[in-house]
Structures are given as C-alpha cells and as structure tokens.
C-alpha cells in the first residue's frame, strides 16, 4: 500500500522482524557509529543526526536482510556511503581533509561479549531512559511497556485523554532514541552530568536501603 516498498516491514505491529533486526543489530551499535562519523573533522552533530536517519532509512527499506552476514559492518558501510554522498553534495574535498584514507575503514568489532552481557547492558540503557523521563511520561510508559496495559486503559487509569497518553508514549520513545543514540538528552543540551532527582513526595533520600551512585 505504501509507495515506499519495504517500509511496511517496520510499520506492522504483528511482524516485528525488521524492527527487531534493526534493534539488535544496528541500534546497539549506534553509539559507536556516531562516534566514528564524528571523528571526521568536518562532520557536525547535526550532520551525524542526518546520516544516522539516512542509514536507518536504507536499512529499513532493503527488500531483505537475510543475506547480510555482518549487520554491524554493513551498517557502518551504509553510514559511510551516506557520509560520502553528503560530502560530495557539500563539495568538500573530503579525501584531502583526511590524512589517511584508512580512517574510512570500518572499525573492527571488539570480540563480542556474551549475549547475556549485551542484554544486561541494554536493559541498563532502557532503565536509564525510563529514569530520565518526566514523571507522567514515565508512568504512561511504564504501564504500557512493563505492565503491557493498552493505551486506552492507561488513559482511564491515569485520567488522561487517549491523545495525551499517545503523546507521553511518544515522548518515552523519544527518550529511548536519545539514550541509544547519544546516551540521553544531556548530550544534546550540552550538560556534562546527569543527575536523577527522585520525585517530590516519595521518601527516598533518607532511606538507608538505597545507595545511589552519582555519575
């Protein structure tokens, strides 16, 4: 139905395969891809944002990903092509800019940790994103994602319109995107430390059972 053949793959709720592939094979490496792109001198943060979106667009609309043996490396290659295209369009003589053409090589992956280790650290990132959400967003997100409550029922539970719940879910997703891509909103707002304040009204700071490490 969509004129963008392949985008259905990420749109259907029933079949999450492509989204799952993107999540497990690309999203987990996004931080590294961004860091790699940024190291080419004339690439700004805004450029990186564009390149990442373009990379996902290409990966999402591929007819099939079954034959991609090394998705991580492939994602880097796609990001690199997108970068070259951008530099060409900007008419920057990029090759001269970079001292060694070898810098454009896709970095080799570190030996991959056990699946369990990846899982734990990914859960950490999800929890961190949840912690960073404003209170009402966090409530809606928690009920939807952790408790599995349908959006309609969340609206009844929290006494909000369905439209508002939808906006909170969107904000929650946005927070996740920031967390996986950049390590949280703090980066964008150019603040170097992130502190998570407990919500007013809950007995937290004095509780001896809690030891919170600050970053």
């Amino acid at each position: 139905m969509s004129q963008f053949w392949g985008i259905e793959a990420v749109m259907e709720n029933g079949n999450d395969d492509r989204s799952r592939w993107l999540a497990e094979r690309v999203l987990v490496h996004e931080v590294g891809i961004r860091a790699w792109l940024r190291r080419f001198g004339n690439v700004s943060d805004a450029d990186v944002d564009d390149l990442i979106q373009e990379t996902y667009a290409i990966l999402a609309t591929r007819a099939s990903v079954a034959n991609i043996i090394d998705p991580r490396a492939y994602a880097y290659q796609v990001a690199r092509s997108a970068l070259f295209q951008k530099l060409r369009r900007a008419k920057v003589v990029s090759i001269d800019y970079v001292a060694d053409i070898g810098e454009f090589d896709v970095p080799e992956d570190a030996p991959s940790p056990e699946a369990a280790a990846i899982s734990r650290s990914e859960l950490t990132r999800v929890v961190r994103a949840i912690e960073a959400m404003p209170q009402q967003t966090r409530r809606a997100f928690w009920l939807r994602r952790v408790e599995g409550m349908p959006q309609r029922e969340i609206a009844a539970q929290l006494q909000l319109s369905e439209n508002t719940v939808e906006k909170h879910i969107a904000r929650g997703i946005r927070q996740l995107m920031d967390q996986f891509g950049r390590g949280g909103k703090a980066v964008r707002e150019a603040s170097s430390t992130q502190t998570c304040e407990p919500d007013a009204g809950t007995t937290t700071l004095d509780d001896p059972s809690r030891v919170r490490s600050k970053h």
Binding site: S2, F4, N13, D50, Q53, L123, P198, S209
Partner: protein
C-alpha cells in the same frame, strides 16, 4: 531558500508515529503517514529507528515480571496490576506506586523491590536475613506460613540468610528454586532465564521450581566456594559447576562496596561490566585493545576514570563525546 527540517524534529515526529503504530492506525492515519514519509528519506529512517527503540525496550518487561508460583488460592484473583509496597523510592520504583494510583488491586501479596541504574539496595528481612540488589535488578518477596519466597526477577542479588530453620528462605530464579539456611550466596538471572549461583558461605539445596519445592528432596547441593551455571532451557538437568577461590568470590561481590574488581578479565569484559552501572558507554576502538587483560579495583560509578587509567596503562588514548568514551590507540605516524 527554505530551511531544512532538523533531524531533531523529524525524530520527534517519528516517535509520535511509532506511538500511534503501537495502538494501531486508522485508514486515514495510514494515508497521512504515507504522505509524511514521502517528503524526506530521513523520515523513513526516523520512523524505523523509533520502532526499533520501541521493540528494543521490550526487555523492560522483565522489571515487572510476576513471581513464578505466585498463584495462591487463598487470594481472590483481581483484574489489574499489582500493589507494590516499596521501601524508599528512586525514580523507577516511584513510578510503580504512582502509576497504579489509588486504585491498587492486590494480585498477589508480594513486596516488590527494584534498583535503578548504578543503584545498590539492601533489603533487610525480619529474621535478620538480607537481600542486596545489584544494579538494575528486581525481586519480589512474599511470605508464606512455612517459608519465605524471594523471586529474583531480573539482575543479580546477594543473599545473606540467617539461621531461620523455622522459616527457611527459598530463592527462585528462572526454573530453579534454592533453599537456604544459614548461608550467603550470589544469585543472577539472565534475560533468557539462565541462572548462576556462587555460594560464599554455608550450602544451598537446589531443586526444580515446582509446587513440591518446599518439602521435596533437593536435586543438588552446592557448597561454599562453588559456582553453578544453570542453562535456560535445561534447568537443573543442564548445569556446569566450578570451584571458585575466596578471592574470586570477593571480586564478584565488590559492587556491594561500589567497586569493580578485575583480575585478568579482558578490557571488553570490563567495559561491559561498567555498562551495567551507568549510561556511560566505553567504546573500544580495536580488537587487540579489547582483548587486553586488565586488573585492578575501580569505583563503579566512575567509568571515565577507569577508561582513562586503563588507557594510560595500555599506551592508549581516550576521547569523550557526551556519554561515551572511546579508548583507542592512535595510528602510527608513518612516512
């Protein structure tokens, strides 16, 4: 010259469409989405990324998993939610209480505890026993007449079980039940329900987690100074047991004092450990670096300090961008 839409605002819209997709689109919305996607390829990418982030967050369900075997015939089954009684708070924990509002139905009489990122929580039980949660971990504790059940739903926890023969503590993780009296052990559960136990003191009895756990003959005994890994699929029929030194056990417990202790683990393994305690990502630029063995005692909440110290010791450099720190060896200056 028209101003190009910023990637940020495209991401905002992508997230909104992903939220709508989650609840299902109307035909009209499908057309609108199709139209929106058409104007800029970046929008396709933003939507794909938002959907990926949403799917990836499914793992958060493990934070709210109901304890296995929580069905108790004496408690009438209610429709919604679960009342979480929490000692202390923290943003994640506060959400549960707040989200359920004043309309809290009891589904089971468990007390539910969750630790956030980089957080350690020590829960004292009434008989002098204690359960200490590691980062991003959750337990559900319920008291029965003859036993106490502590279900480790996610993460890792250190159990110190006092002399409570009258009411033994049964820890549950995955498909395994661990009966404990006068012992100390570290228990971890992975997302696929693979379980790992390290006994520091005393001994524990392991059984498959069935209704007969409480009084049945245990399948296995694990003594102090041992570690058992239990597979997700096979449960107690598929395990691996090794002897562990006192030093090694102490190292695995260093997080209780806010530290991480390494002795021969690779830099990659160490970076993964730090990743559990903080959103800071240590990225190792090359394979050789990642394999380097490292040793030392480090503060768990200072991944940057760790990265810098390790870099110096390995003749490498670091570069910080936001919440990420990259360790790399500069290319040799040639020609």
């Amino acid at each position: 010259m028209t101003l190009r839409e910023s990637a940020q605002s495209i991401d905002d819209a992508g997230a909104l469409w992903a939220a709508r997709l989650d609840r299902g689109l109307t035909d009209q919305e499908r057309l609108a989405l199709d139209h929106w996607l058409g104007a800029d390829t970046r929008r396709i990418g933003a939507l794909a990324r938002a959907r990926a982030a949403w799917v990836h967050a499914e793992r958060a369900r493990s934070l709210g998993a109901l304890p296995v075997g929580s069905h108790d015939a004496s408690i009438p089954q209610r429709k919604f939610g679960r009342r979480a009684i929490l000692v202390g708070g923290g943003a994640v924990a506060a959400t549960i209480v707040a989200g359920l509002g004043t309309v809290a139905f009891l589904r089971d009489p468990s007390q539910h505890y969750i630790s956030g990122v980089g957080e350690t929580r020590r829960i004292a039980l009434d008989d002098g026993s204690a359960v200490t949660l590691d980062t991003v971990s959750s337990v559900a504790i319920s008291s029965r007449i003859a036993t106490r059940l502590v279900t480790l739903e996610t993460g890792q926890a250190f159990f110190e079980v006092a002399n409570g023969a009258l009411r033994p503590l049964i820890a549950i993780a995955g498909r395994t039940a661990i009966r404990a009296v006068r012992t100390a052990f570290l228990l971890s559960v992975a997302e696929d329900s693979a379980v790992s136990i390290i006994v520091q003191a005393g001994r524990v009895a392991l059984s498959a987690n069935t209704a007969s756990t409480e009084s049945g003959r245990p399948d296995r005994i694990l003594e102090a100074g041992s570690r058992m890994d239990i597979s997700a699929q096979g449960g107690l029929t598929d395990t691996r047991t090794v002897v562990v030194s006192t030093d090694a056990i102490d190292r695995t417990l260093a997080w209780r004092e806010g530290k991480l202790s390494f002795s021969g683990e690779t830099l990659a393994e160490a970076a993964d450990q730090f990743a559990r305690y903080s959103p800071v990502r240590i990225i190792i630029a090359d394979r050789a670096l990642a394999r380097e063995p490292i040793a030392g005692l480090f503060a768990v909440n200072d991944p940057r300090g760790f990265a810098r110290a390790i870099a110096i010791s390995l003749g490498a450099h670091t570069e910080t961008t936001g919440d990420n720190i990259i360790i790399f060896r500069p290319a040799p200056v040639g020609n």
